[in-house]
């Protein structure tokens, strides 16, 4: 599913003429199989978010390659990556990243609109997804009218609505209380089992890391450990 080979990334800091390079990732290589839940853990500044952003195509790697579903995405231009994200990836963000002026239904409908789906099919799919995440009857609510857990469910519904084979999650429980966190983790495991969706989850929370079939531990931009979380 995902192959990361010799991935290096550094940021350039300062103004022209007085620039310094900050190395964030150094020669990272790992593989994620289809249907796996892989969690990436590490302290702040370990490079785990940068790694997720590189795999998402939000930033370009300095060196190395990323292959997802047999496509060398690290060579994609912005448009190609956008198209790839729409068709192959779903995203769950710590702060949900819902569009506040759109209702829960409209937020879920958005990927379907971008895909160019017809209005009737779109409506049916989005409503089914609302039901799936247990938010039936909340479709006309704006994000500000929903609890954190409900917003994250909308966010998950949006990520799942196009049935992508891969979901990337960045601190998905970071804004949730412990009860809601547990519900969400169960839901992720259920989706993985029932639909075979691959999850790559960034977290610093042990409870989240524990649901992974495998955990990759990062420190100072390098993989220091890989295996079942203990």
């Amino acid at each position: 599913m995902i192959d990361v080979n010799q991935l290096t990334h550094h940021f350039t800091l300062g103004k022209k003429g007085n620039q310094t390079k900050l190395s964030v990732l150094e020669n990272i290589s790992f593989h994620v199989s289809a249907g796996e839940i892989v969690t990436i853990v590490g302290r702040s500044g370990s490079g785990k978010s940068t790694l997720l952003n590189l795999i998402s195509g939000f930033i370009r790697p300095t060196q190395g390659e990323i292959i997802i579903e047999d496509q060398k995405v690290s060579n994609f231009d912005e448009s190609e990556f956008a198209h790839f994200r729409l068709n192959h990836m779903g995203f769950i963000f710590q702060n949900f990243q819902l569009i506040p002026s759109m209702t829960a239904f409209q937020n879920i409908e958005l990927p379907l609109i971008l895909k160019g789906m017809g209005e009737t099919a779109r409506k049916e799919t989005a409503l089914a997804m609302l039901k799936k995440v247990g938010l039936e009857g909340f479709g006309e609510h704006y994000p500000s009218e929903l609890s954190g857990g409900q917003q994250q469910r909308v966010s998950i519904a949006r990520a799942l609505v196009l049935e992508p084979p891969l979901i990337l999650a960045d601190e998905p429980t970071g804004s949730l209380d412990s009860e809601t966190e547990e519900d969400l983790l169960q839901f992720i495991q259920q989706l993985n089992k029932e639909l075979g969706i691959t999850f790559l989850i960034i977290t610093h929370d042990d409870e989240v890391a524990r649901i992974g079939h495998r955990t990759i531990s990062l420190a100072d931009g390098k993989i220091v450990e890989s295996g079942v979380f203990s």
Binding site: L86, I99, L110, I113, L114, G116
Partner: protein
């Protein structure tokens, strides 16, 4: 993303800031209306001039002033030339006249007289060309004549004080005019001649058989006496000069002073479309020609320049409005940066983002243009109704009938829409490009 969904998306976005969008649309509408109304003045006046010209008889006429050979030698038009003109394709008729070369004193009995001009006229051609008699009939013998429409109003009573004779229009006052039937009356035409340096006069008595219709233009006066060619021959015999011109034929210096031939020849084309072709053919054959169509070319050119100039000035107004659109779109991009970031993150391509913003600026331009067009039509109607009333009240003078101050043809509407859309799309281009360049991570962190 389907166009319908993009459209729905921009409507949703526009609703978020109704007042700002309304003000931008208003500015665009005002710019568009200004452009149309401004240019409509040139279109209106051009249309009035064209209509006025097209309604006149002269539009189909080509005046032939003479013939000039390759060496530059000039001669008048003669009967051979006339026959050649008549044989040309699409020529309806050829009117010709020889104007008597001196002023003639015309007397009606002992009570009325006037200074007039006279010309020999080929009446069949005149009638074919559209001339009509207001009353009476055409001459049938050499001493019968037809008089011009203004012959009577310009005939002065012999015993009146000349200071009190004229009305405001320059005619003899109504109450002082000859007001009896003129048909069948005898007029005496008095000509002068110079023989061996001595000047003497001769009189020709003629009978009026008809009165010509009023000329097509209000400002034209027709006080002529239309005589037969035979009578002109008699007058030439009296003076001893061609066209009865006033000079001494016995003086060797005057030999060949006036060439024999017609001095007013008009080729009347069968229709307007053939005027240019006939005119070109005659020019190729070295004839000196003039037609209103030639003049219309220049008039059209002038109006085209005026229209282009006014459209250009109007475009400046739209350009000013485009600053508002640029501002609105830039604000929209800034405000919606987090949403754009989210959309890009979940798979919206830069092309889609750009298209949404360009569509929004085009939509503002299109609504502005639509409102501007409606406003321009209303202003145009008000100008056409109100301005003549104001001008007539201020200058106390009646304006020409059918004069249009403002006219909005469909082509002007299309031009305004094209300019409006082009300017608004261009003004939305930079903000749209900026939207595509928004960094996803920064936008989602609300750092844009």
């Amino acid at each position: 993303m389907k166009l319908k969904d993009q459209f729905r998306f921009i409507l949703q976005n526009m609703k978020k800031n109704k007042i700002r969008v309304f003000m931008t649309v208003l500015a665009t509408a005002m710019g568009c209306a200004f452009l149309i109304v401004l240019a409509s003045v040139a279109f209106g006046l051009h249309d009035s001039v064209l209509k006025d010209t097209m309604e006149s008889r002269e539009i189909n006429e080509i005046e032939i002033a003479g013939y000039e050979d390759d060496n530059g030698t000039y001669r008048s038009i003669n009967d051979e030339d006339i026959a050649r003109f008549e044989e040309m394709e699409n020529v309806r008729t050829v009117t010709r006249a020889k104007v008597v070369g001196q002023e003639i004193t015309a007397s009606l009995g002992d009570d009325y007289e006037g200074t007039i001009s006279a010309s020999s006229t080929y009446f069949p051609a005149e009638l074919e060309a559209g001339a009509r008699l207001a009353e009476g009939r055409l001459p049938e013998s050499s001493n019968e004549v037809v008089i011009g429409h203004h012959f009577i109003p310009l005939l002065t009573p012999s015993n009146e004080n000349t200071e009190d004779l004229w009305d405001e229009q320059g005619f003899v006052k109504e109450e002082l005019r000859y007001n009896e039937a003129i048909i069948g009356e005898t007029i005496t035409l008095e000509l002068k001649k110079i023989e061996d340096g001595e000047e003497s006069t001769g009189q020709f008595e003629v009978t009026v058989t008809g009165v010509m219709e009023q000329p097509s233009r209000e400002w034209m006066w027709d006080q002529k006496v239309y005589i037969s060619e035979d009578l002109l021959g008699e007058m030439e015999a009296f003076t001893g000069t061609p066209r009865a011109d006033l000079y001494d034929p016995s003086d060797e210096e005057n030999e060949g002073l006036i060439a024999d031939g017609y001095n007013s020849v008009i080729v009347v084309a069968a229709n307007l479309e053939s005027v240019q072709g006939i005119s070109d053919q005659l020019k190729d054959q070295n004839y000196l020609t003039y037609s209103i169509v030639n003049e219309m070319k220049q008039v059209n050119m002038l109006f085209t320049i005026a229209k282009a100039g006014l459209i250009f000035i109007g475009t400046i107004a739209i350009l000013i409005a485009s600053i508002g659109i640029y501002n609105t779109m830039t604000m929209a991009v800034t405000e919606r940066a987090p949403d754009i970031g989210i959309m890009k993150a979940i798979g919206a391509s830069p092309k889609v983002i750009k298209r949404i913003f360009l569509l929004e600026s085009s939509y503002i331009g299109l609504i502005g243009a639509a409102i501007g067009i409606v406003a321009a039509y209303i202003i145009s109607i008000l100008v056409n109704i109100g301005l003549p009333l104001i001008l007539e009240a201020v200058f106390e003078e009646e304006l020409p009938a059918g004069l249009m101050f403002s006219y909005i043809p469909f082509s002007l509407v299309v031009i305004a829409i094209v300019i409006c859309l082009t300017v608004t799309i261009l003004s939305g281009f930079r903000p749209a490009k900026r939207a595509t360049e928004i960094d996803v991570l920064k936008a989602m962190r609300r750092e844009v």
